[in-house]
């Protein structure tokens, strides 16, 4: 499944637009990471736990978007966009959406 941020795929023609597909997920880390993050707020530095959290969420959202695209018969998703929002301390919601297309 081709994923792209562009409107078009250079060198290929779009046969059909199949509309909007979206993937979203809400995840949180366990309390241990929250407590460590609380300490890090005093000392500074990268919050590795939360970086992991957001990366996992992004991957899962993309996987779900791809699953929707496959289910309706697309072979590429173009114009992919992300949106993040935080649901309380330590939990993040990630949303990925794009246009499912059938490339020739």
């Amino acid at each position: 499944m081709l994923l792209s941020n562009l409107e078009i795929v250079p060198g290929r023609k779009i046969a059909k637009h199949l509309g909007l597909v979206q993937g979203s997920t809400v995840r949180s880390k366990h309390i241990g990471r929250d407590i460590m993050a609380g300490f890090k707020n005093v000392f500074g530095g990268e919050l590795k736990g939360y970086t992991e959290l957001l990366q996992e969420s992004r991957e899962e959202a993309v996987v779900r978007m791809t699953a929707q695209a496959e289910a309706i018969g697309a072979n590429a998703v173009l114009n992919v966009r992300f949106s993040t929002s935080s649901i309380s301390q330590g939990a993040a919601e990630l949303f990925a959406y794009g246009t499912a297309v059938v490339l020739e």
Binding site: I14, A15, K16, H17, L18, G19, V21, Q22, G23, S24, T25, I31, D34, I35, G38, R64, A67, Q68, A71, I72, G73, S88, Q89, G90, A91
Partner: protein
């Protein structure tokens, strides 16, 4: 370029799993982990607390001293009884018991840090003889001997800190409350164990002091007749700091039987002067004293 809009299947972004299943899994998981952690922390805290020297306990208790109750003849009598029982219990020489007598109608007695034991007049009034009083006294001395007050302090501090940390860091105060309840119920199990331990040591002390254990269950039988006893018996024992009264009586009788301690020997009455003092005060409070005995 054609545009279509096929139907996207459900179940990709939203799970079709029943929410109650997730709820029960989470709840069980959280409660189980809380209980395990609280048990481990409590054992650790109690183990460490026992290393706090008794002298330090006395100092800590000294700092919290408010207005001390006035020493009377009753206080001296109780202190004498405590000292004799301390010898029978093989209390270490550096652990001194200090008895405080409070002239109040509360029916209670407790032991706190530094070997300080407090008795209330209300309890003394209910004691028919010295043996019953000695049992209560020996029970409180046993708490001191086994370092229960300082263990309770250590446990309270550690568990309180842990629960506060979790409740603070979780984004939701409800979850913190669930943890608090689970932790509290676990800790109550430990306090019940301490009460049983004190009961057993007190019974042995009584046997050594008097040669028999008559009067050991007097206090518990009385406890059943107190006004709020009915309500207390209805609270399930896992929610209570003390074991159920029936259980305590039964355990004491069984222990006496196992060790061959007699429970039907005559008991020693309270000294006359003490009886008069206690009755005089309680009559004053309930207004039974006729006016022509008051000094003009």
């Amino acid at each position: 370029m054609r545009y279509e809009n096929p139907k996207v299947p459900e179940g990709i972004n939203v799970t079709s799993e029943h929410p109650l299943k997730e709820f029960s899994q989470l709840l069980l998981g959280v409660v189980a982990v809380t209980v395990i952690i609280v048990v481990m922390l409590t054992l650790l805290a109690e183990r460490i607390a026992q290393h706090i020297p008794f002298q330090m306990e006395v100092e800590i208790a000294g700092q919290y001293r408010g207005k001390l109750p006035v020493r009377t003849a009753v206080t001296d009598y109780l202190q004498g009884l405590a000292d004799r029982l301390a010898v029978s219990q093989d209390l270490p020489a550096d652990m001194r018991i200090t008895v405080h007598y409070v002239d109040d109608a509360t029916v209670n007695a407790f032991a706190t840090l530094g070997g300080n034991i407090v008795f209330f007049r209300g309890l003394l009034e209910k004691m028919p003889d010295e043996n019953a009083l000695a049992m209560v006294m020996a029970h409180e001395i046993a708490h001191v001997r086994h370092r229960h007050p300082v263990m309770s302090l250590g446990r309270g501090v550690v568990i309180g800190l842990a629960l506060a940390a979790v409740a603070n860091f979780s984004g939701n105060d409800l979850a913190g409350r669930v943890l608090g309840e689970a932790g509290l119920l676990t800790v109550l199990g430990f306090t019940r164990q301490q009460e049983e331990e004190a009961d057993q040591t007190a019974l042995a002390t009584l046997a050594r002091q008097y040669g028999h254990v008559s009067g050991a269950d007097t206090f518990f039988m009385l406890a059943k007749t107190l006004p709020h006893a009915g309500i207390k018996e209805k609270i399930p024992s896992f929610l209570s700091t003390h074991p159920a009264t029936e259980n305590r009586i039964e355990k004491l009788r069984r222990l006496a039987q196992q060790n061959g301690w007699a429970m039907n020997q005559p008991t020693r009455p309270l000294p006359e002067s003490i009886q008069v003092q206690i009755k005089h005060r309680s009559d004053h409070e309930s207004g039974n004293v006729s006016t022509h005995f008051l000094p003009r």
